[in-house]
């Protein structure tokens, strides 16, 4: 089978399915579910047929460049695909599970009010997953990576009228954004490492790789560590493990396939995909084995004290993925792939049948009286000393919160006094000065000029933090997010002189999204009280506004629906290798920006509705 057709087919199916599903009426349960499972079934057929012919033809990895989205002298943003054993294994896993679970959900979700939304999101997720596993370079992978993040958010917050799913969706999204930092910075470093955008195959080509690594061993280690950071975040490894049980908020089948299998193994995929890049970096491999082992042991211990069935399965799965990471570190690719498949199927099935544990265990207890206490042994009494720690999940959940978000909150709350108008004018002033300086650079002393990029990047970072911690005005937060992007753009314009078109690429989508968002909020303010001090749940009365606003948020956070997505990458290519501080603050503010936008969406539109004239769930439920 022609590889190009195969890839186009495999990726085109969910895209087509998703687009059709958007236009189907929410009452058409049958059509929606048939569309979803036939998409997955055709994908499964494709992958089986293709794999057969691929194996017969010598199982050679195939890579091809799809299209250059943007090209300039020394920059080429292109979509690239790669098909090899790893791709096909994950394609088989994804297609077979999606097929089974969509059939399952066809009946399971019958009469559920979000029936259509569920299948839309599953198809959307399928798109992201497929792009990731077929990606031939980091840029392509990142597109899928972002789609996966957003669809995960939507699936976890599927019961959007309750508080906990929404809060947990935000929590998981924030961990995913940390993973995104890894990918963004790795992309930037790789670009400098090779002086161009490379494909995975080129990256893995031993000869050139060794040359580069010999010259830049520090950068090599840094890139590998960034890969681990992203992989660990997505695969719930330490210190991120506590998000996985909290993702189990959607309908059981969606938890089963996404957090039991497909989504949670993507981290392992990333490590396997970049295996050849780091396989000769001994320190990194030591670190990886150590981290895997630590995760495996701690997650197992935590899993054993869990008194709820889903969190028990989640931690058991995390522990196995820890082992998978070790297998990857040792370069046992085939064993790791088998392990991934086995773990994915096992956890999916365990989660699906988890409600049955009630009747099963109660029946079992009729015949085997369970011991009232743990069996006593020196080991148990030793372990009992760690019971409270394990019950508190080794402080992973609180720890992550206090290490990452509390400092940000402190920074953001520091200048509470500024109201919207002052902030706006202050920003406008600083940006105005910036622009003025930009076009009259001659007057600046070189020392000042060198520092300006960092200054504006840091200023942008502060804007993002302020937007993220704003507790009152929604429009202020939204505007600060836009200012953050402008600030970054300005910072980089001082850094290197490049085509202004790059700025246009970058800012076009953002400014448009901001304008629409601002309009929607202003219109809503006429009839409703909106603020960021609470979750308002306005989606109950404004489903359409909510949907458009979600698109606005995606646009504002540089999601691949506007040119800004490419702009982001472009902008990064203008940061030099020795400007790590600049790169870090730019990347970090993009991450915080993403969080701040989703936070706005969640607080205004999701959560328990403020108007209690209808059934509203308790905040604790």
């Amino acid at each position: 089978m022609n590889t190009t057709y195969f890839v186009h087919g495999f990726l085109g199916l969910p895209i087509l399915g998703f687009l059709i599903s958007l236009f189907l009426s929410s009452k058409k349960e049958g059509a929606l579910s048939v569309l979803s499972y036939s998409t997955a079934f055709l994908q499964l057929l494709l992958v089986l047929v293709f794999s057969g012919s691929w194996l017969l033809h010598g199982a050679v990895p195939v890579q091809f460049k799809e299209i250059s989205v943007y090209r300039s002298e020394n920059y080429d943003f292109f979509i690239d695909f790669l098909v090899d054993k790893l791709t096909l294994t994950f394609a088989f896993l994804g297609a077979s599970l999606t097929f089974l679970i969509t059939i399952y959900s066809r009946y399971y979700l019958h009469r559920e009010s979000g029936y259509k939304r569920f299948f839309n999101t599953i198809l959307f997720f399928n798109i992201g997953y497929s792009i990731i596993i077929f990606s031939g370079n980091m840029e392509t992978l990142f597109i899928g990576w972002e789609i996966l993040g957003v669809s995960s958010f939507l699936l976890i917050a599927f019961y959007r009228e309750r508080l906990l799913p929404v809060k947990n969706a935000l929590k998981v999204f924030s961990v995913y954004r940390i993973g995104d930092i890894g990918v963004i910075l790795a992309m930037w470093l790789l670009h400098h490492f090779w002086h161009e955008n490379v494909t995975f195959l080129e990256m893995n080509r031993t000869v050139t790789l060794h040359e580069h690594l010999a010259q830049n061993s520090g950068v090599g280690l840094l890139i590998a560590t960034l890969f681990y950071l992203s992989a660990a975040a997505k695969s719930a490894q330490l210190p991120f493990s506590s998000w996985l049980p909290r993702a189990m908020e959607g309908p059981t089948p969606s938890s089963a396939i996404f957090y039991g299998s497909m989504s949670v193994h993507i981290g392992a995929f990333l490590l396997l995909r970049t295996l050849h890049f780091w396989e000769n970096q001994l320190y990194f491999k030591f670190g990886l084995v150590f981290a895997g082992l630590l995760t495996a042991v701690i997650a197992t211990v935590i899993s054993r004290v869990q008194s709820t069935v889903k969190s028990q399965i989640a931690y058991a799965s995390v522990a196995q993925i820890g082992l998978i990471f070790i297998e990857i570190a040792f370069g046992w690719e085939n064993i790791a792939l088998l392990h991934i498949l086995g773990n994915a199927f096992l956890r999916t099935y365990q989660l699906l049948i988890s409600p049955s544990i009630v009747s099963y265990k109660i029946r079992e207890q009729l015949y085997e009286v369970p011991a009232q206490e743990n069996k006593s042994s020196w080991f148990k009494s030793f372990m009992d000393r760690y019971y409270v720690l394990s019950l508190k999940e080794w402080n992973l959940d609180n720890g992550l919160y206090s290490v990452l978000w509390n400092p940000l909150k402190k920074i953001g709350r520091g200048w509470k006094v500024l109201n919207f108008r002052y902030v706006f004018w202050l920003m406008a002033l600083i940006l105005g000065i910036g622009l003025l300086l930009r076009f009259n650079e001659a007057i600046l002393a070189p020392v000042v000029r060198e520092r300006l990029p960092f200054f504006f990047a840091f200023w942008g970072f502060l804007m993002a933090v302020k937007a993220f911690t704003e507790r009152d005005s929604v429009r202020k937060s939204l505007t600060l997010i836009m200012f953050n992007h402008v600030s970054i753009s300005l910072a980089l314009s001082f850094n290197a002189h490049f085509d202004n078109a790059h700025h246009v690429w970058y800012l076009s989508g953002i400014v448009l999204a901001w304008a629409i968002g601002y309009f929607l909020l202003t219109r809503m303010r006429k009839t409703e009280w909106i603020s960021l001090d609470n979750f308002y749940g306005h989606i109950y009365e404004y489903p359409k506004t909510g949907f458009v606003f979600l698109l606005v948020c995606l646009g504002l956070s540089g999601f691949p629906i506007t040119p800004s997505f490419i702009g982001e990458d472009l902008i990064f290519s203008h940061i030099e290798l020795d400007q790590f501080g600049l790169a870090f603050f730019t990347a970090f503010s993009l991450v915080i920006n993403g969080l701040a936008t989703m936070r706005i969406y969640a607080r205004v539109f999701l959560g328990p509705h403020v108007k209690n004239y209808h059934q509203i769930a308790k905040r604790s439920s």
Binding site: I103, N168, L323, T348, Y349, Y367, L391, S621
Partner: protein, 824 residues
């Protein structure tokens, strides 16, 4: 000392308002708002709504919509409106509801939260739930909470002093906790600082998580609910929560002052003092009109139809009172017009525990409030244990897990595919037949001296059997009409992946299938000495009569027969003929039920439909194996001919009763003592789960997570969800139960007056009561403590044939119609 008492009084009253749901294995329906039952229905609902913020009715828009659709008749609306003189018809249709209704309980804490500037509950709840759920866990965690046999706080204290980590973040709360002399009073002094605000504080705190609070109150009061024994008191739980709050405040604020010093407004918690709002009064009128639109149809048809005496009785079936039996009885009677059916609570008057073969536990198989003194032991050779390794601790292990995922992981893939593409019987599914091995022998007859160490008598003596059998026949009015074969048809249900499975079985058997009860009763009634003794009590069972026990699976529509080898040879032919009719009726019943399942095409070949209906009970992905008691609305207490000829669409509990042999209402009193709490409990749980599925029901069951085998929650950090999931109640119409008794009003009044608890149900109208006087063919409704004559307004269609054909045209409720005269 005085203060301590006061605090305990507050907690005691508070507990009364918490949900009273037991752990999942003992799921039993009850009135969700039982705490308000001492007030008239509408007053109670209004108080509950204002105090706790529950929705207790449908919305005004929904009622108006029902009116437009004809589900509320203009006539009933006028009557309901005429019952009061405060509100106008115009308001019914045009009154605008306020968008925000402040809730009383929680308001104190809400002000506090605003002053504090952070969400205390969000900090405290997850850890609190985790600790208490781990302590109470009945078998999910592989590594159990090390209780060392100690009660809750003592065990926690021991752990706190020995563990590497503390449950607290700061020293102050930890020190208070480790000091056993530190009481709830002390904690509240720190947190609240003013005795007068304690009540507000505690209500707000506990009703922020009614699920766990209620579960702990239940377990504290009835420790036997648990298999793994755990000792916990409600006060200890509250104390721990207060300490965690102190800890969180210390962490967040450093120094803080008690809530009462912040000038927060307090509230009065007094359900009797709540004044109804206009919207509430309007909804009460709408609700009455809604209910009477349906009731009137029923009463009209009962009045119109002509009662026929059963000409000749070929066989008799005694069924459970359950509303799900309504249709199977009709199908059998239509196939065999000389079949006579009776209804009575499905434990068949047998009050006992049951111990399955090889089991070390006993299960109660009679109504929940009864405390049995007997035990039935099963002896069998069958192996009952089926292992499912997916639930085995090893599947969660690290190194064994490593091997298992590499090997069994692929076996899971296969099972996953098979269970989704070709669902079939599996180890996970619950089957009604698991309860008892059909070939087992039961210790029905008491052998002198056989008792369990704790004093239960094994089996029954002949005198006891006589009383049980005689009592049941007397109550249903079966004294000398015995046919050659009499069937005792118990029921149970099968389902897969269903956490609430206990709620699908027989309520009268404490949420178990009734198979043991049917077999035990049949054995007793077949007993020659029992028959001899009964003849002295004017109950004459002919020697050639034989009783056959059956279990009906209400989800699979199957009859499972027991003790067939005991059928006398001369009755085998009769039995075979009946069995063929039953099989046919089961299929028809499945087709009738299928009309409510939108995913089953009822118009297909009946055999296909039947298979599809059965497939639902083994499919992992089917959240609705059956619809259980949904749409229940009636309870008819009377002879079969009183209601046999009208079509009630599986909405009626049917209890047999013969007014002619009970002039003083003795039997009736016994029947209504059971009907009010059992049928009323089912009906009101459905009602409240329907009108507020989020707070009084369990919400959608799709995201449910099993918490320690005690209950379900959404996700891993949520509070326990009580009530029924949305999948069980979505087609339910929130009507109160109307009990229609075929007996003169003064006898009914006398019967209910004997038990104050029963009287309260009817007097406060949480359950409606109507008397039908067979002599005058007239009705009287029990209202404001007395019977008032009622004349139905409606008329009823007569349906000649092809009822099933017409039924399956619609998923909706079918109107009450008069059936073609099956007896002629």
């Amino acid at each position: 000392m005085h203060e301590k008492h006061q605090l305990q009084d507050i907690l005691h009253v508070l507990e009364h308002y918490l949900p009273s749901q037991a752990p999942l294995k003992d799921f039993i329906h009850h009135n969700t708002l039982h705490a308000f039952q001492d007030q008239p229905f509408h007053k109670g609902l209004h108080a509950a709504q204002q105090l706790f913020g529950f929705q207790t009715y449908l919305s005004l828009e929904a009622y108006r919509d029902l009116y437009t659709k004809g589900a509320i008749s203009a006539d009933s609306l006028d009557r309901a409106l005429a019952d009061q003189n405060e509100l106008t018809k115009d308001q019914l249709f045009h009154f605008e509801t306020a968008t925000e209704n402040p809730t009383v309980v929680g308001s104190y804490r809400l002000q506090w939260k605003k002053k504090l500037g952070f969400d205390l509950d969000a900090r405290v709840h997850p850890l609190l739930f985790r600790i208490v759920n781990s302590f109470l866990d009945q078998g999910i965690a592989i590594w159990r909470f090390p209780t060392n046999g100690l009660p809750f706080l003592a065990a926690l204290r021991q752990m706190e002093s020995e563990n590497t980590a503390s449950i607290f973040s700061g020293e102050r709360a930890r020190n208070c906790f480790l000091n056993p002399a530190f009481t709830l009073q002390d904690a509240l002094d720190l947190l609240v600082g003013d005795q007068r605000a304690f009540e507000n504080y505690l209500y707000d705190q506990q009703f922020a998580h009614p699920g766990y609070a209620g579960m702990i109150a239940q377990i504290a009061n009835r420790p036997n609910l648990l298999v793994l024994k755990r000792e916990i008191s409600f006060e200890d739980f509250v104390l721990l929560e207060c300490l965690l709050e102190i800890d969180a405040l210390d962490q967040h604020h450093g120094s803080w002052i008690p809530a009462a010093k912040l000038g927060l407004e307090t509230y009065q918690f007094d359900p009797k003092q709540v004044l109804s709002t206009t919207a509430q009064k309007l909804k009460a009128i709408w609700q009455d009109a809604y209910e009477w639109t349906y009731y009137d149809q029923v009463l009209a048809s009962l009045q119109q139809k002509v009662s026929h005496d059963q000409p000749k009785v070929s066989s008799i079936g005694i069924f459970c009172i359950d509303d799900r039996e309504c249709s199977i009885r009709r199908h059998i009677e239509q196939l065999n017009p000389s079949f006579l059916s009776f209804g009575t609570p499905g434990h068949f008057n047998i009050e006992t525990y049951f111990q399955a073969h090889g089991s070390l536990q006993r299960t109660k198989i009679c109504p929940a409030p009864v405390q049995p003194t007997h035990l039935i032991v099963e002896r069998s050779v069958a192996q009952k244990k089926q292992k499912e390794w997916h639930f085995d601790a090893r599947a969660y292990g690290l190194l064994i897990g490593w091997v298992l995922t590499h090997t069994y992981g692929f076996w899971s893939a296969l099972k996953l595919a098979l269970s989704i593409l070709w669902p079939s019987k599996n180890t996970m599914a619950v089957s009604s037949q698991q309860h008892m091995d059909p070939d087992a022998t039961l210790s029905i007859e008491h052998v002198e001296g056989q008792r369990t160490p704790d004093g239960l008598q094994i089996g029954f003596t002949v005198e006891e059997m006589t009383a049980i059998v005689g009592g049941m026949f007397k109550s249903i009015g079966l004294q000398n009409q015995f046919s050659p074969l009499v069937y005792l048809i118990a029921h149970g249900s099968s389902s897969a992946n269903n956490t609430h499975y206990a709620g699908y079985d027989c309520g009268a058997c404490s949420g178990r299938p009734g198979s043991v009860n049917a077999r035990v009763f049949a054995h007793m009634a077949n007993h020659p000495m029992v028959r001899q003794a009964l003849r002295n009590k004017q109950i004459d069972i002919p020697d050639q009569t034989h009783f056959v026990p059956i279990l009906q699976d209400t989800a699979r529509d199957e009859f499972i027969y027991y003790d067939l080898n005991q059928i006398p040879p001369h009755l085998v032919d009769v039995f075979e003929a009946d069995r063929a009719i039953f099989a046919n009726a089961c299929q028809l019943n499945a087709v009738e039920r299928s009309r409510r399942f939108i995913t089953v095409n009822s118009h297909a070949q009946p055999k296909k439909v039947y298979q599809k209906v059965q497939l639902r009970t083994v499919s992992l992905f089917e959240p609705r194996p059956e619809l259980n008691h949904a749409t229940n609305a009636l309870c008819i207490v009377g002879r079969r001919q009183f209601s046999r000829d009208i079509f009630l669409d599986r909405r009626a509990f049917l209890n047999s009763y013969d007014y002619r042999i009970d002039p003083a209402g003795d039997s009736l009193s016994g029947i209504l003592n059971a009907v009010a709490p059992v049928c009323g409990g089912i009906n009101l749980e459905y009602y409240f789960s329907r009108v507020d599925n989020e707070q009084l029901g369990a919400g959608s069951k799709l995201p449910h997570n099993v918490m320690g085998l005690l209950g379900v929650a959404n996700g891993v950090d949520g509070d326990l969800r009580t009530g029924l999931p949305s999948q069980m109640i979505e087609i339910h119409d929130p009507y109160r139960l109307m009990v229609i008794v075929e007996q003169k009003a003064q006898v009914v009044l006398a019967a209910i007056s004997r038990n104050p608890n029963t009287f309260e149900w009817f007097a406060n109208e949480w359950v409606r009561l109507v008397s039908y006087d067979p002599d005058t063919n007239s009705f009287a409704v029990f209202k404001n403590g007395q019977f008032q004559a009622y004349q139905p307004q409606g008329t009823t269609e007569k349906l000649s044939d092809n009822l099933l054909e017409k039924l399956i045209q619609t998923h909706e409720n079918y109107p009450v119609v008069e059936l073609s005269n099956i007896a002629s």
